[in-house]
Symmetry: C2
Subunit: 216 residues, 2 copies
């Protein structure tokens, strides 16, 4: 598949690299066409990896991944352009972390709204699926990094889009029984609001290689 | 131990009953001395169980449990009185659920503050420990209801108070390795903010008998 990955940080690189490894054609999108991180990333991965501006990557992808920082996501997607996103599955991995108050981060949106819903409202023709935001980016693409059973949550308003994302998660190594469909996109509020607990756990456990599991 | 349990709902009854079963002297506190739920609860449990007003129960307890509904907690604790709480461990199980917007509930406080911190600020001489709010009240006192390994989180500013709560959790059946100390009371933000995910999971899974586990 042709996939556009928006964002050049740890999440974008980790997910982008896994997608290339799986044989997809991946374009990493950045604010500028000569973004050094994107250039270096694509240069190291051969024919499957390319890079460009947000609009280039979104236009290229049959599926688009939002791996930008949450506070920058709406701007990045506006640069990508509504027409480049229309009709496509848009996997939103971003977290609306607000570092302006210092550490630990708070959220820019919470409780009665979520970043995923803001994105869906701004781009009503995209099929937004919230996924993978509740874990470290290495765990996202290599679930076996964390021992035992642990879970990946998805939510969104389009069932077919969620099925596409579930298939992608399967290819990342997630067993079906560990992919939990939480229903419509308002569930993204809960998924984004676990971040403060995640950040605290990272600090207390001294590792990013942990993940939530719903024991039942 | 003499323990005051504030609140006559499912959480207060479940925790209060377990404490009586464990041999503690428990007084359930309510707004009025003749609260029907508290009267019935105490009547069915023999000598170990009593009931009274919030102030009676808080004054009685060497340790006090806040099992009131979150939106009513500050009022209930004000009725209990600062002098009745001073110097005591106050286990805050409450969740600041706001049902005024309909279902599912939102939170009355989130992101940059928490109910537990509001309580600690209002009653600075109490030793507030946030605990058990991330799970169903039957699971709180019978962790084996949920199969496999799953966790109970605690946080608070007083290490000795947290040790007392950890000991109580042990008596409830929580193995030490499943009690995760998240540090100071600001971690309560993260613990209260998992409620929207919890509520959604209850709906999707069709059961309250599940719990979070931090796989690592």
């Amino acid at each position: 598949m042709k996939i556009g990955v928006l964002g050049t940080g740890r999440v974008g690189k980790s997910v982008g690299t896994k997608l290339v490894d799986l044989g997809h054609q991946v374009m990493m999108g950045a604010r500028t066409a000569d973004n050094p991180a994107a250039t270096e990333w694509a240069g190291g991965l051969g024919d499957g990896a390319n890079h460009g501006r947000f609009a280039d990557a979104a236009g290229f992808g049959e599926l688009v991944v939002n791996a930008t920082s949450g506070a920058a996501s709406l701007g990045a997607l506006a640069s990508a352009g509504a027409e480049s996103l229309a009709g496509k599955v848009l996997i939103d991995i971003a977290n609306p972390l607000d570092f302006s108050r210092g550490m630990p981060p708070t959220l820019t949106v919470a409780n009665i709204d979520s970043l995923a819903e803001q994105i869906q409202r701004a781009f009503p023709d995209a099929k937004v699926v919230k996924a993978l935001n509740t874990m470290n980016c290495e765990v996202m693409v290599q679930p076996a990094l964390v021992p035992g059973s642990h879970d990946a949550f998805v939510c969104g308003d389009d069932a077919e889009a969620k099925a596409t994302v579930a298939e992608l998660l399967r290819s990342f190594g997630w067993p079906d029984e560990n992919v939990i469909d939480l229903g419509d996109l308002t569930a993204a509020r809960g998924l984004e609001m676990v971040l403060p607990l995640w950040v605290r756990l990272m600090s207390v456990l001294g590792t990013r290689h942990f993940n939530f599991h719903v024991a039942r």
